[in-house]
């Protein structure tokens, strides 16, 4: 009764930015915001 779904690991945006040296302000200006993430789902 168990179903196993394969997942693929993709490069994260932060890794991409690190490679391109484009990380300036990433964390500061666009922080992962838990409360916002929670609130997002309530909009449906």
């Amino acid at each position: 009764c168990m179903v196993i779904i394969p997942l693929r690991q993709m490069k994260t945006m932060r890794e991409t930015l690190r490679e391109r040296n484009l990380l300036t302000n990433f964390s500061e200006e666009h922080p992962y915001n838990l409360s916002q993430k929670a609130a997002n789902d309530q909009n449906i």
Partner: protein, 323 residues
């Protein structure tokens, strides 16, 4: 420089395939324990990101059902607008009939993401009207035998990682699962006793909470605690990042997350990322609201080390060292 859109994405990386509609249309989605909804782009979406991703064609599906309910969601600098619709969703051979999901008509900021949509595995939110998460529907429809799902996140870039539904395969972890009750039914938060390095508590001194989030790549905590850890590992700030000497990785202590009395060490090889000749700290700041209790987000850095079982039936999370 194509800069702005990349900055707006949240951290993510593990992606799997699902099918929607009859006959099935395939999508690559992020399996995310930090959110609860499923959404994919629609063929009627005219945003640039929708042309770059697989889009759902409602008229090609005999089981599609439209509604007039608006789907409108905002992430920090990304947004999606569209309609709530119903159709058959397949995850492997699991089938959720009349599954509500969001069909985007407008997207902002998703141009370069390597997935089409997001499949949330969080708890149903109280204010969501009619949009039952897919896992709840699979359970309600009797498709899965146990209301659990589990993640094995391999450090292999391309393959080996899996999400399993309806049970737990022991082949993916060592020893026994240690169960931790969720601290607030409604999200995958658990209580942490402390975070220590070299035997000294460096964060979460009076206990704190953590969200186990497969939609986040790193370890995120409050500014003060993360700063203290960066100092302890001699990480120096460069362009808002923190880097350490790559030669020093072997000498850095593990960060030990004590949960329910059990230590979960995260070695330096896991919390430091080597890239392009630099060694970056994977501890990142998560700004907190005023009066918000200390909360950490344990993303893939943690979940690659520890096989994780999300047990909706008993509102608990099981952790064991991954194979």
């Amino acid at each position: 420089i194509y800069h702005h859109p990349l900055r707006s994405y949240k951290d993510f990386s593990y992606i799997g395939n699902i099918n929607i509609g009859t006959p099935p249309q395939e999508f690559q989605v992020l399996f995310d324990t930090g959110s609860s909804s499923l959404w994919v782009p629609s063929i009627y979406c005219q945003s640039s990101s929708c042309y770059k991703h697989n889009s759902f064609v409602p008229c090609n599906s005999s089981t599609f059902k439209a509604t007039n309910k608006i789907f409108d969601t905002n992430y920090t600098a990304t947004s999606i607008k569209g309609y709530l619709v119903y159709d058959t969703v397949r995850i492997g051979n699991l089938v959720s009939v009349a599954q509500p999901f969001g069909l985007s008509l407008k997207e902002f900021g998703f141009d370069d993401v390597p997935f089409d949509g997001i499949l949330g595995l969080g708890y149903p939110r109280r204010t969501v009207t009619g949009a039952n998460p897919i896992f709840d529907n699979l359970w309600k429809q009797g498709v899965i035998s146990e209301p659990v799902f589990a993640f094995y996140l391999s450090s292999q870039k391309e393959n080996g990682s899996v999400v399993m539904f309806g049970g737990v395969n022991r082949a993916y972890y060592k020893g026994e699962l240690n169960w931790v009750p969720v601290s607030q039914v409604g999200s995958w938060h658990i209580n942490i006793d402390s975070i220590s390095m070299n035997g000294t508590v460096v964060a979460c001194k009076r206990g704190c909470q953590a969200l186990l989030d497969t939609g986040t790549a790193f370890l995120r905590g409050p500014r003060g605690s993360v700063s203290k850890i960066q100092k302890l590992i001699h990480a120096r700030p460069i362009d808002r990042e923190h880097v350490v000497s790559c030669q020093a990785i072997g000498t850095l202590p593990p960060a030990v997350f004590t949960i329910n009395g059990i230590d979960y060490p995260v070695p330096a090889q896991a919390y430091i990322q080597s890239l392009s000749g630099y060694c970056f700290s994977n501890f990142l700041v998560r700004p907190q609201r005023v009066n918000e209790s200390e909360t950490w987000i344990l993303g893939e850095v943690f979940l690659r080390l520890y096989f994780s079982v999300f047990d909706r039936g008993n509102n608990r999370i099981g952790l064991a060292p991954a194979v």
